[in-house]
């Protein structure tokens, strides 16, 4: 089965969704395969994809192709993983903040987090502060990830932090911001707990903040 898991990982990296789905079916037919094994291979695959983007071997379409392979494989894997009752890595609420409709970076990160075992609630793009707050409360989220690509979104980041404080939720959820609109220095000024720019740094900061 280790060989099948390796092939599954390679299929995700290559963005071959059909093969990923087929291999996911093979993997869940063997009840001995542990949920941790599956998540290790899934998240290794997305880290490889992230590395290939960093080194200029992959571009946005290749990352989207792999993210789609993860999403389609997860449809097959989820019932099996649910049965295995594995503790999830954490609950994440994520969205692109108000004033911004960029969804590419967010969607790639959502897939990478799902691949790493997080329960992810994706709120989409142009998300209002109220919607973020409502979802954090409803899901008792561990992490709130704010994607902000355009520079005009900066006030929205301050708004969300202020609203979390006003609602008494700031101590309950770790907030991570990222995207082309702002720097780490700006993120510190906003008062978030973490800052990330790509798949690799997002996974690292999420693990750090959830103690994983």
């Amino acid at each position: 089965m280790e060989e099948t898991l390796d092939k599954f990982e390679e299929a995700i990296v290559a963005g071959d969704a059909d093969l990923s789905v087929e291999l996911a079916g093979v993997i869940i037919s063997d009840a001995r395969v542990g949920a941790d094994d599956i998540f290790t291979h899934l998240s290794n695959a997305m880290e490889t994809v992230g590395n290939r983007y960093e080194t200029g071997e992959y571009f946005i379409p290749e990352m989207l192709r792999s993210a789609e392979a993860v999403e389609r494989a997860m449809v097959v894997l989820e019932p099996y993983l649910f049965e295995k009752k594995r503790d999830k890595s954490g609950v994440v609420v994520m969205g692109t903040v108000r004033g911004d409709i960029h969804n590419i970076g967010k969607n790639i990160i959502v897939s990478a987090l799902r691949a790493a075992g997080y329960e992810v609630h994706d709120l989409g793009v142009n998300v209002s502060t109220e919607k973020f707050i409502g979802k954090v409360r409803e899901t008792d989220a561990d992490l709130l990830l704010l994607s902000a690509f355009t520079t005009s979104t900066k006030p929205a980041l301050f708004d969300i932090i202020a609203a979390l404080e006003a609602e008494g939720l700031r101590g309950e959820v770790k907030v991570i911001s990222g995207g082309a609109s702002h720097s780490e220095a700006f993120a510190r000024e906003v008062g978030v707990d973490g800052f990330a720019t790509d798949v690799k740094s997002t996974l690292a900061v999420c693990r750090k903040l959830t103690g994983g």
Binding site: F59, P61, L64, E68, G99, I101, N107, T151, S152
Partner: protein
């Protein structure tokens, strides 16, 4: 030599008295010069034209880049937009969900409803002395707008035939807007193909999807007006292809090594660039602008064929003194 003559001389392959300066000052930054908010000027052509003319006069560079406005442009193909305050207009709904929607694509006439008024107004106000450039989106960029950038790029692998068909379907939009700009009296046409950047897609995908459409529309338009092809962020890996599109000039961003670009394609096309609009113009000070201008001149000025510019749009929050410094040091280091 006045500003317009200086700009046109470079595009005609002649050596001007000094390097022309035409930064990408558009609907993001220009409204500030007349104390107006972006949303007013994104949707009100008269406001935009007034802002572009005022910025040109205030900073003293050689040419302005006219556009019909970031609001009306995607709207031409039926995408609803929302604008609020200084926010960039948002395309809130894309119109192409799949192949079946291709037939539903409707192009409204870019001359209707006074959409070209800002361009005509700008030409009338500054066009005798200064160059007026008009900007239009490439078919590749229009296609991404109507499909949604993420689905568009996912289609490269999912359904490449749809990508080709969609680009073909929106090609008339680029040509109609270009012709409307030409009729309004522009001196040069900027075709924007930002999503074709090697910062986003591979050079192979550029050659497969973006390049053929660039080449085709430029072949159709180049006899009527000199064309400047804009691809921001990193275009270094595709520069030689861009030079074969038939464009008279390439607008390159700060990630391009200007000296290397001059060496590889400087004999074939004019280079326009490449001051970093964020790190230098928005975040830097006048001393940073001077250093960047001096470096750009030393890389690309020799023998002509160079227009000093920012690599991309001057951001809304750029300090006014940095834009002033661009002209000041452009003149200081730009004399032949």
């Amino acid at each position: 030599m006045n500003s317009r003559e200086r700009f046109l001389a470079v595009l005609a392959g002649e050596l001007p008295d000094m390097v022309p300066i035409v930064p990408v000052v558009d609907g993001f930054f220009a409204p500030r010069v007349i104390g107006r908010a972006n949303d007013e000027c994104f949707l009100d052509g008269g406001c935009l034209a007034e802002a572009l003319a005022a910025a040109l006069e205030k900073f003293g560079y050689d040419g302005a880049v006219a556009e019909m406005g970031l609001g009306p442009e995607p709207n031409l193909l039926g995408c609803p937009i929302e604008v609020e305050g200084n926010d960039v207009p948002l395309v809130v709904e894309t119109v192409i969900g799949g192949r079946d929607d291709l037939q539903r694509l409707v192009l409204s006439d870019p001359r209707s409803g006074g959409k070209m008024a800002p361009v005509e107004q700008l030409v009338a106000a500054v066009g005798s002395e200064h160059a007026v450039l008009g900007s239009v989106r490439s078919p590749f960029e229009y296609a991404a707008s109507v499909r949604g950038l993420m689905d568009f790029m996912a289609d490269f692998y999912r359904d490449p035939a749809l990508v080709h068909d969609l680009i073909d379907a929106v090609k008339p939009a680029t040509l109609m807007v270009a012709r409307a700009l030409i009729e309004s009296g522009i001196d040069a046409l900027v075709i924007k193909d930002s999503f074709a950047s090697s910062s986003l897609i591979s050079p192979d995908h550029y050659r497969e999807f973006a390049y053929p459409a660039e080449r085709e529309v430029i072949a159709d338009l180049a006899e009527e007006v000199p064309v400047i092809l804009h691809i921001c962020r990193n275009s270094m890996p595709i520069l030689e292809d861009m030079a074969k599109t038939g464009a008279a000039a390439l607008e390159v961003d700060s990630l391009v090594n200007l000296a290397a670009a001059k060496k590889s394609v400087g004999g074939k096309v004019v280079l326009k660039g490449n001051i970093d609009s964020v790190a230098v113009i928005e975040k830097g000070g006048p001393a940073d602008v001077e250093a960047a201008v001096a470096a750009a001149m030393s890389a690309a000025k020799a023998g002509g064929g160079f227009i000093l510019s920012t690599g991309d749009s001057v951001p809304v929050s750029a300090p006014l003194e940095n834009v002033a410094a661009l002209t000041e040091y452009g003149r200081k280091y730009g004399r032949y």
